[in-house]
């Protein structure tokens, strides 16, 4: 990727961020926003800019970057442009873990991502097992079917868990499953950013394995990659990233699908580049989608997952046509 294109990506992210900080029911100019960010101005404006808008933008950045990188890693390793955490049932598994934690009364902001991760890792293992049983690990259709099955099972599991839960828990869970960053608060963001940074850095560190695995398992083995170990490591990191986003923002679909494709369209080739570019594109996309979610029907708010699905589904169909 050229330097100009990288700059373009960062400009897009910056613009989305500015939109996220300046647009809203309370009119605050760019100057007012900057002063509020610095902590100057009246306490109410500072509260709006820092605790409401900036927190949402930061959570959207984490969500978008996490989903983008997760999708890029899964697509590269599986050599399948349709792989993404939502469609592969990974997000669904993470949701089961998180709902289980909430129903069990665990609500510490640090524990929720871990519970989601346990669920996501379980879902990855299940998808790969099903795909292997059908002897079609490399076949995109088998993998997607396995993902759909695991996702449907995850949904059913959540319904069972919620059947015995209180009215409030159910309402919270349903809203959260539609995806939203409206619940952004700094304590949660602190935990999520620690996990996300660790998983993101680890994923970039194993980017070379993603490149080699993309050549095919035999070729990768010939080049000295311990295929099973490397694959497992990458999947787990991708699952962790997806789980972090689920813990913070619920189920936000199709970002992991659209974003790596955009990164590649912009000229990213090597896995490292695709991963990093996907992080930036994903962040910009989700920040932008959240601005749409909270402004088109203001003062009401759309679920973020609905906005990303509106963008993502036509894109998915286009890719499916090209792959088929």
């Amino acid at each position: 990727m050229t330097r100009a294109r990288w700059s373009l990506l960062f400009v897009a992210l910056a613009l989305a961020g500015v939109a996220g900080l300046t647009l809203g029911p309370v009119r605050i100019g760019l100057g007012g926003v900057l002063r509020a960010l610095a902590g100057a101005g009246d306490i109410q404006t500072v509260g709006i800019v820092r605790d409401l808008r900036l927190a949402r933008v930061v959570l959207a950045v984490i969500t978008g970057a996490g989903l983008g990188m997760s999708g890029a890693a899964l697509q590269g390793t599986l050599r399948n442009a349709l792989a993404e955490p939502y469609l592969l049932g990974v997000s669904g598994g993470a949701a089961v873990g998180a709902v289980l934690a909430v129903v069990a009364g665990v609500s510490a902001p640090g524990a929720l991502p871990l519970a989601a991760f346990a669920g996501a890792a379980g879902a990855v293992a299940l998808v790969l097992l099903i795909a292997r049983a059908a002897r079609g690990r490399a076949d995109p259709r088998v993998l997607l079917m396995a993902g759909v099955v695991v996702g449907a099972f995850a949904n059913a599991a959540i319904m069972v868990l919620l059947a015995g839960a209180g009215e409030g828990t159910v309402r919270n869970a349903l809203w959260w499953m539609m995806g939203s960053v409206s619940g952004a608060d700094w304590r949660t963001i602190g935990w999520l950013s620690v996990y996300a940074t660790a998983a993101g850095v680890a994923l970039v560190a194993v980017a070379r394995d993603v490149d080699l695995l993309a050549l095919g398992e035999d070729a990768a083995a010939g080049l000295g990659v311990r295929v099973a170990d490397a694959t497992r490591r990458i999947f787990l990191l991708a699952a962790l990233l997806a789980a972090i986003t689920v813990a913070g923002a619920g189920l936000v679909g199709f970002v992991g699908l659209v974003v790596p494709a955009l990164a590649r369209a912009l000229g990213a080739r090597r896995a490292r580049e695709v991963l990093l570019a996907s992080a930036v594109v994903g962040a910009a996309l989700v920040v932008g989608a959240d601005v749409v979610a909270r402004t088109v029907r203001a003062p009401a708010e759309l679920p973020l997952g609905a906005v990303t699905a509106i963008v993502g589904v036509p894109f998915f169909l286009m890719r499916l046509r090209r792959t088929a």
Partner: protein, 318 residues
Amino acid sequence: MENEPALYSCPGHRRRARARTRCLLAVIAATSACGAPASDRHPESAPTAVRIVDDFGDTLRLAQPAAHVVSLNPVTTEAIFALGAGARLVGRSRWDSSPDAARQVPDLGDGLQPNIEAVLAARPDLVVLYAAAANRAAAAAFRRAGVQTLALRTDRVADLARVLHALGLALGDTTAAASVADSVQRSLDAVRAMPRRTRPVSVFWHAWDAPVITIGAGSYLDELVVAAGARNVFGDMAQPSPQVTLESVVQRNPDYVLAGPRAARRLRADARWQAVPAVRAGRILVVDTSLVGRPGVRMGEAARALRLLIDSAAGVRP
């Protein structure tokens, strides 16, 4: 029809106590032709045929007042007790907790999309339902099973008089229904007639926080706020319970935030809600959600409680 071998003998039953109560009620109904029991207030001694068109458009026909009633809506359950017919209830929904005596009535589960079998097992001759689309199938199922249904909408202040009248007809005591409706109306009017505040007060009603849900113009709680002499900051929204962004709450800048006790604690502790000036200044008024939540026979009491709550807070304001 009863499948039990004989009306007057109580067959062995797992839940003996309940079965016995049912038998007892059956006996009362069977003997009521000879002499009306003291617990049932029938205005006329001869049974009258009743015909009511309910809020689903279904026609309810009763040869005599309903004797075994399942009420699956907190508002109607409370109203049936207010009409002095609580003893005729053989089932209620899990949400019906008022009056206290309602808790003694068997809990048959949810009031929306109820468990049909559980309700039929209570052998009612009338099922009172909340008239929501989700209950249409249940109403049809009860009617197919030969049980009469009365679906009533209980969403607004104005609904209550109609609900009381319909229940009065079904239970054979329209006099009691008219007198309860009248007393509710008078208590509500008394609150509305309280002197206007020198300075208008605006409120934000916190119904939920993830997502943020409040009350709009189409809701009973909006009517209650107006009756209490205040203005709902989202009173311009047509939906009864609109979902709004937290920032729009900041923008509309209510004088007070009304919330239930648990929600109030959450709001005080949540950094994001501090952006709302009323929350930051501690102007959160804790409402008794069990009293104000439903447009039932206690709505006058609820409006008065709300008015006094706002008055006491507004009085201490600088």
